[in-house]
């Protein structure tokens, strides 16, 4: 059993006192920031990323993965107690989770979310361990043409599965690609789009882009809409599920895990799509569907498991192909690059301890969520009760100091302000910022592979359709676009997103 020896290697790396400690701190900090209303995983990770710069690569990635799980679980807590989803995939949790909280069953909702996430996380970790090596073997045979087509497919799939206007989303990708190639061109040494500013010769920092577009814009928009938040914390300390509740929740957890593991590998809204799909499945299968929307425990258990399995499965394309399927993974790619690890199929062979250590630490991170978050729930609830007028200046401060500490230069603070303005404009125009971040990360890689592919074919662009794997991937991208553009299906898709 090769997979077992791989996992054994992984655990031998991850279960050192030092790395377990980093995972612990990551989960703790991630939950701490993630639980704050209106902060999703992307700004949370962007804000905490600078802390990991000084660490060795393995420890940094382990801590980042911990931050990610923590941020996600923190988001679920906010969804359940305040009815405020930090990100789109938590929207479903709000429906029945908030109702459970209103009925004084907040603790049970949080407990079932944690248990569901743990079971889903355990399964998804095994899935990654099993699927990553064969996928990476395939990817190792890819030439530049295949890589270029794979990136096109990934980007198209990411916008097709997201909600909103397709043309707008593709425009955001292209804009992201353009912003991504700013800086010194690796081949000619020419400074592109740097306006003679020395700080821009290394390109625009991805943390500043993510922080501005997601963090700053979010704060500004929150301040524009005044609204009273109602927090229901009654019964939050009652974490024990009754046997009949557990029996209701377990099948939903298992089904959610399955749905999430399959859909999560898809780029784009993998986690969100799995949460929606799981909710619909549970509602269909229920003996009494009218309980849904009124605090049904399956309505929390299913989507939360699906969401967690999905977000964990999204590590697969990132780790094996180097293609981030969503904004969080784009940040992970950026973080790996900072530690001079180029994500892709070669990581598994060149840095096996890092690769398997990260996978093992995923499971440890999930375990810590259960061990850490449930007993500490009282602290998270206290944080939720801090009024927003006191919270956002603190968040802003941490963002500014975090951005400054990347290069110890205030220039990055100003760039973040520029992206904050841009992010605010995007919100007003209903342009999703996530595709821009994907394009931004993939920009330089895409140009390099396009250049190499055409250099090898001596300028013959048909190379993308004459090489079979490349042709299949481009064909899939075209089919996806056609399906969405076809009016009948488009109507159904809109209906599905309205539900």
């Amino acid at each position: 059993m090769e997979i077992l020896s791989h996992l054994a290697l992984g655990f031998s790396v991850a279960v050192t006192l030092q790395n377990v400690l980093y995972a612990f701190v990551g989960v703790l900090l991630g939950t701490l920031i993630g639980v704050l209303p209106g902060i999703g995983p992307v700004p949370t990770i962007a804000m905490l990323l600078p802390i990991t710069y000084a660490l060795p690569p393995v420890a940094a990635l382990i801590m980042l993965a911990g931050i990610y799980y923590g941020a996600q679980y923190g988001g679920s807590t906010t969804a359940i107690l305040v009815n405020l989803p930090g990100e789109s995939s938590a929207v479903v949790t709000c429906i029945d989770g908030y109702q459970m909280a209103r009925q004084g069953r907040a603790g049970k909702a949080l407990a079932v979310a944690a248990i569901g996430s743990f079971i889903a996380g355990t399964f998804a970790t095994m899935l990654i361990a099993g699927f990553a090596p064969p996928l990476a073997d395939v990817a190792l045979k890819f030439g530049p043409a295949e890589y270029f087509s794979l990136m096109v497919l990934g980007l198209i799939a990411a916008v097709v599965l997201a909600s909103g206007s397709l043309v707008k989303a593709i425009g955001m990708i292209v804009l992201g690609l353009l912003l991504g190639i700013a800086g010194t061109d690796v081949n000619s040494g020419l400074q592109r789009y740097t306006f003679g500013i020395a700080e821009l010769s290394d390109g625009i920092g991805f943390v500043t882009v993510a922080m501005g577009l997601f963090g700053f814009a979010e704060i500004i928009v929150n301040l524009e809409h005044r609204g009273k938040r109602e927090i229901f914390t009654k019964g939050v300390s009652d974490l024990m599920l009754k046997w009949h509740e557990f029996k209701e929740a377990l099948p939903a957890i298992l089904r959610g895990t399955g749905i999430g593991s399959v859909l999560g590998i898809l780029p784009g809204g993998g986690a969100m799509l799995s949460a929606f799909a799981s909710y619909m499945v549970e509602k269909k299968l229920a003996k009494d569907p009218s309980r849904f929307g009124k605090g049904a425990i399956e309505g929390v258990a299913g989507p939360e498991s699906a969401n967690n399995a999905g977000s964990q499965a999204s590590f697969i394309p990132m780790l094996t192909l180097g293609i981030p399927p969503n904004a969080v993974m784009a940040l992970m790619v950026g973080a790996m690059t900072i530690h001079s690890i180029q994500p892709g199929p070669q990581v598994m062979t060149s840095n096996p301890d890092l690769f398997w250590g990260l996978i093992a630490s995923m499971w440890i991170g999930n375990l810590m969520l259960v061990v850490l978050n449930l007993p500490l729930i009282g602290i998270w609830v206290k944080l939720l009760q801090v009024p927003y007028r006191l919270l956002y200046p603190a968040i802003l401060l941490f963002c500014c100091i975090g951005v400054y500490s990347i290069n110890n230069n205030v220039f990055d603070v100003f760039i973040t302000a520029v992206f904050g303005i841009l992010g605010w404009i995007f919100v007003k125009l209903e342009c999703e910022p996530a595709p821009l971040l994907l394009g931004f990360i993939l920009g330089p890689m895409m140009e390099e592979n396009l250049r190499r592919a055409l250099l090898l074919s001596r300028g013959d662009a048909t190379v993308f359709v004459t090489r079979p794997i490349s042709a299949v991937m481009l064909g899939m991208a075209v089919v996806m676009l056609l399906i969405i553009v076809a009016p009948s299906i488009r109507k159904k898709r809109d209906e599905a997103f309205h539900e």
Partner: protein, 151 residues
Amino acid sequence: MHFIKNPKDFWAGILYIAFGIAAIGIAYNYPVGSAGRMGPGYFPRALGIILIGLGLILSLRALRLRGEPLSFPTFKPIVIIIGATVLFGLAAPKLGLVVATIILVIVSSTASEEFNWKEAVIASVGLAVFAWIAFARGLNLQLPVWPWFMG
């Protein structure tokens, strides 16, 4: 402008076109090369053209299909939050972390409808102390802590 039926899409399209033109304009002197030997100007120019095309589709379609109007309930938060951030950036290198933090927190607090002076001042001092201990000492941030005339 009553002929614009979907202002959100229309202005998004205009934004794309503007970025596309800027991208091509700035890249005007970058060598393009040929497809087989791509110069640094090839990819940016291709992206610029695609972006302009997408912008045109969006804007023209917005003259035909109806959509929600743009909503700007208030400009106070955007001006204050961005202003406070820029002030922090300007103040930090000279006046140090503590003063910059106090400026950032008090100025940004005024963006809230529930702003009150007393609370904002207390919060700013508290956060300044926290920033000093946690970031300047704990994380070894390379920022002066106090203004230049006090160091």
